[in-house]
């Protein structure tokens, strides 16, 4: 059989760390990067007698995410204990949700390349994170950092609706963008605030039943997920082609080697002995609260793209780029509204602003040029007070100094000269220095106008307003 004779079937489990200031069941800080075990207390250290108390903010963020993914919020959901022993799991169980999750039955529309497709979301449930085992810190010993223990997570479980690694990639990118827009998470795979486990199986094309699946873990980027899926699909296909059976197991992706290996811990054989968490009552959400959460959902990427395309008359490519990140879109819209020039704003934001952010690796928080500042610069250009070349120089000085555009233009003598007497002086000099071109131009050879304007610009050190120079030249030629 050819490669096309088999079809990949993928379902994804995405763990997302919620952006709360305190942990899911205690008041400890969720700050990333604190010294080991600083953000701990009797509750998240699982000291004898300590009890969990649910963080309402975590429920709010989880509910917002679930609603935005089209899920139904269950008015009653139950926390359950997932029991297993591991040194970075202080209680010996993780508080999670099992047979009655926070939300279920949603879907996510993705661009599948050949059109849009809806990927089913089975469920969204809340749980707490474990700590971290550090195996490389002390030789021959394992160190435990419990700062992360108890940080709130949601797990978003998809249906096995994806048929290629590209679709899985599109699902993840769309999901990340939505979660970003919702401001519920930092959704950074590098910092571990978004983690993906993939369930993948292969089946002969046209077959209805699902093949035996394997679970692939340990991917640390979206492209890693795509590569891992392609690798695992190829492995399963080869097994099926040999007439053998795929065995259900967990594999760990090794990005450096580009291969997935069977995990030594037998994940599939775990019996987590779930049972309802007796320290927490059922989570009951009333209708008024749910409608409050619904009302607070911000504009999502799809709606925003549509609106921005209509409002600013930009190309689809520009819209795509400007809406990649909600902060970028906010920055753009603010600039466009303040400057009244959507096209120029788009060019600036996609050009100089993006380049500045990329170069500093920083966020908008650290960018000293605020939308109002950029809008002022754009106006200086459109009013003819500053040339494009000067504007770029002004922008980089704005980034450096944080000073307003007009002040920099003045201090650096970058304002264009539109004063007729000064311009006439330069024109006189140019015409006398280039008598042959002057004579031909004045005799009607209009194509020399550009050359003469160039001479004037050079003479003025770039400060002459080219529009006015054009007009003055034309009036001398009697065409004014």
């Amino acid at each position: 059989m050819t490669a096309d004779a088999y079809e990949m079937v993928v379902g994804l489990e995405v763990h997302v760390q919620l952006k709360t200031t305190s942990k899911a069941f205690c008041g400890c800080s969720t700050d990333f990067g604190a010294a080991p075990n600083v953000n701990t207390c009797p509750i998240c250290l699982a000291l004898p007698g300590a009890l969990p108390v649910l963080n309402e903010k975590a429920v709010e963020l989880a509910s917002r995410a679930a609603l935005a993914l089209g899920c139904t919020l269950n008015t009653v959901s139950i926390f359950a204990r997932k029991n297993y022993f591991y040194p970075d799991l202080p209680k010996g169980y993780q508080i999670s949700q099992f047979d009655r999750p926070l939300a279920s039955d949603g879907s996510l529309r993705i661009d599948a390349g050949d059109g849009e497709r809806a990927i089913g979301i089975t469920r969204v449930h809340m749980e707490e994170d474990a700590g971290k085992s550090l195996h490389d810190r002390y030789p021959g010993a394992t160190a435990i950092d419990l700062n992360r223990a108890g940080v709130p997570l949601i797990e978003i479980v998809s249906e096995p609706d994806m048929r290629s690694s590209a679709e899985a990639g599109a699902y993840l990118r769309t999901l990340r963008q939505i979660l970003h827009y919702l401001r519920v998470s930092d959704v950074s795979m590098e910092e571990g605030s978004l983690r993906v486990d993939a369930n993948v199986s292969a089946r002969p094309r046209g077959q209805k039943e699902l093949g035996t699946k394997t679970e692939v873990k340990n991917m640390n980027s979206f492209s890693g997920v795509e590569r891992a899926l392609d690798f695992e699909f190829a492995r399963q296909r080869a097994i099926l082609e040999r007439g053998e059976k795929v065995s259900q197991q967990t594999l760990l992706w090794d990005a450096a080697k580009g291969e997935a290996r069977v995990s030594r811990t037998k994940e599939g054989s775990h019996d987590y002995r779930y049972f309802p968490e007796p320290d927490l009552g059922p989570l009951v959400l009333d209708a008024a609260w749910i409608s409050g959460i619904k009302a607070a959902i911000p504009e999502l990427p799809a709606e925003r793209k549509k609106r921005m395309a209509e409002e600013y008359k930009l190309s689809a490519e520009d819209i795509e780029q400007l809406t990649a990140h909600p902060a970028l879109a906010d920055y753009y819209e603010s600039t466009a509204r303040k400057s009244g020039d959507p096209k120029a704003s788009a060019n600036w934001v996609m050009g100089e602003v993006q380049a500045t952010l990329n170069a500093s690796g920083g966020s908008f928080d650290n960018l000293r040029v605020r939308p109002a500042d950029l809008a002022q610069l754009i106006k200086l250009v459109s009013d003819g007070l500053v040339s494009h070349a000067a504007a770029k120089k002004i922008f980089s000085l704005m980034v450096e100094t944080g000073k307003p555009a007009a002040q920099i233009a003045h201090d650096e003598s970058l304002l264009q000269v539109g004063d007729d007497s000064a311009l006439a002086g330069w024109i006189d000099e140019v015409l006398s220095e280039h008598p042959e071109e002057a004579a031909r131009y004045l005799a009607g050879e209009r194509k020399l106008q550009g050359v003469l304007v160039g001479f004037v610009m050079r003479k003025s050190g770039g400060k002459a307003d080219p529009k006015r120079v054009n007009q003055l030249l034309m009036s001398r030629a009697g065409a004014g």
Binding site: P48, G49, A50, L51, N83, P90, G92, Y93, R273, F275
Partner: protein, 494 residues
């Protein structure tokens, strides 16, 4: 103050004397330690107390005296020495649950119940012996040896709060805290001839109570009379934001209610007391039956209406309890893994060995048995047949109580235990031991409040009677108990 005078003082009168400046907190503490020394001395050592620190208690007493000098008042328990079961977190003294696995462990934070008692002037003088992790009915399952009953040192105190019960009975403290999961306050209270309270589930914060079975556990006071027990309950009861299962139902003034009826000739007028047939089986100890009948006669003479009722699912309580409680325990005790605190076995070379060796060496046989039992009933393939079914039956047991209390019955009266205190070492079969809680586990499963108080003696040994009431009806429970106590008078100890 001599120890005999001290041992005769109730918590209420001791606090009153301290409040009036008639007794220094320091003298009360010294008397308590002197009494403890008497109980602990010689071949008859009762082994009631695991940890105490005289200097710490004296410092607390001095602090209280200073505070009273400034504030004028020392609180409703000013200067009252209290003993605390070793599974309730206290600052300054170890909290080991009488287990090797927590040897030397001192909690860096304090339980809400203790904080509330301290705010009223109580002074913690001792952490008391118990069955390891509260698993047992005799205080023989202690890593530190069995506690002995002050009424007969060859016999058990009952358990699991045996050390607290014995400390109160022996006059070491007028008040103690125990904890209940299936009768662990009421049963030792009955065996030691004192009063023991199991409040409504959710009435007292569990924050700082080392969990055995979270859906059943409740801290309860132990005292020599109903008034002291009611006062302590009032103080420790109430919503605690640190315990999500604690209730916001208002805490009544239990004492005001029964004290206002103290001079009434018929203090139980209008009260209907149900006598459930399932608690009086044919083979019930004849003395216990006789003493219960005497108490029922007393209820009638106090103006109460007594009716026969049925709680038909009672026979299922022990099997249900021994599925639900071990299931939750198997999870609650997972944190004792040798990684962060407490005992860690030496010589482990793998993570698996670290867990297996630490837990095998750290836990005693009864705790191990229940962890295994609980792990089994939660396992895939058995969950539905055991845990899920047990929860369904538990709902039926709870419904029994709702139905009885819905039918104009205000309180139930039963024996607390099927027998008086048995000799140390006499009960070796675990199941036979489990049956000593047969009359008490139902209140835990249903979550209703219950109290045990002395109703007489059988061959010189104390016998307890139990009063149960509807959810959050502690006021009714205490009213009935107080009236019975007053009616029986000295007969309660005869």
């Amino acid at each position: 103050m001599n120890t005999a005078d001290y041992a005769a003082l109730s918590a209420v009168s001791l606090a009153a004397r301290v409040g009036e400046g008639d007794l220094a907190p320091l003298d009360a503490v010294e008397a308590s330690f002197a009494r403890a020394a008497e109980a602990g001395a010689g071949a008859d050592a009762m082994n009631l107390i695991l940890w105490s620190d005289r200097d710490l208690a004296k410092r607390d007493a001095a602090g209280l005296a200073r505070g009273m000098g400034i504030a004028g008042s020392g609180g409703r328990l000013a200067g009252v020495p209290i003993a605390v079961k070793d599974n309730i977190a206290t600052l300054g003294l170890p909290t080991t649950c009488a287990s090797k696995i927590l040897a030397g462990y001192v909690s860096p934070y304090e339980s809400t119940a203790i904080t509330r008692l301290r705010e009223e002037g109580a002074i913690v003088v001792a952490k008391t012996n118990m069955d390891e992790f509260a698993m047992g009915s005799s205080t023989e399952n202690s890593a530190y040896g069995p506690a002995r009953n002050p009424h007969d040192v060859r016999r058990v105190t009952g358990g699991s709060s045996g050390g607290s019960a014995g400390a109160v009975a022996a006059g070491i403290t007028p008040l103690a805290l125990g904890s209940e999961t299936g009768g662990s306050v009421r049963q030792p209270a009955a065996f030691c001839g004192i009063v023991g309270v199991k409040p409504t589930y959710g009435r007292v914060s569990r924050y700082g109570l080392v969990a055995f079975a979270s859906s059943l556990d409740q801290i309860g006071p132990m005292a020599r009379n109903v008034d002291d027990a009611a006062l302590a309950t009032e103080i420790i009861a109430g919503m605690d934001p640190k315990d999500s299962t604690s209730s916001s139902v208002r805490v009544g003034s239990y004492r005001d209610q029964f004290l206002s009826l103290a001079t009434s000739p018929a203090p139980l007028d209008g009260v209907t007391i149900g006598v459930p047939e399932e608690y009086f089986p044919e083979n019930l100890d004849t003395d216990i039956r006789r003493l219960c009948e005497r108490a029922i006669d007393a209820f009638k003479s106090l103006g109460a209406k007594v009716v026969d009722v049925s709680l038909p699912h009672t026979p299922l309580a022990i099997p249900v309890y021994y599925i639900v409680a071990p299931a939750e325990a198997s999870s609650n005790l997972a944190r004792f893994d040798g990684v962060r605190y407490g005992f860690r076995a030496s010589g482990a070379s793998t993570l698996r060995d670290l867990y297996a060796m630490t837990r095998s060496e750290g836990f005693g046989p009864e705790v191990t048995r229940r962890i295994l039992l609980g792990t089994y009933v939660l396992s895939a393939g058995y969950y539905d047949a055991y845990y899920k079914k047990a929860q369904a039956v538990r709902a039926l047991i709870t419904r029994d109580f709702h139905q009885v209390f819905g039918q104009k019955v205000d309180a139930l009266f039963t024996p607390t235990t099927p027998s008086p205190a048995f000799p140390i070492g006499a009960v070796t079969d675990p199941y036979e031991m489990y049956l000593s809680d047969i009359f008490t586990v139902t209140a835990n499963l249903a979550g209703v409040p219950a109290i045990s108080l002395p109703i007489g003696r059988s061959t010189g040994l104390p016998v307890g009677g139990q009063i149960m009431a509807g959810h959050f009806q502690e006021a009714t429970m205490f009213r009935v108990a107080y009236a019975l106590e007053a009616a029986l008078g000295a007969e309660a100890h005869q």
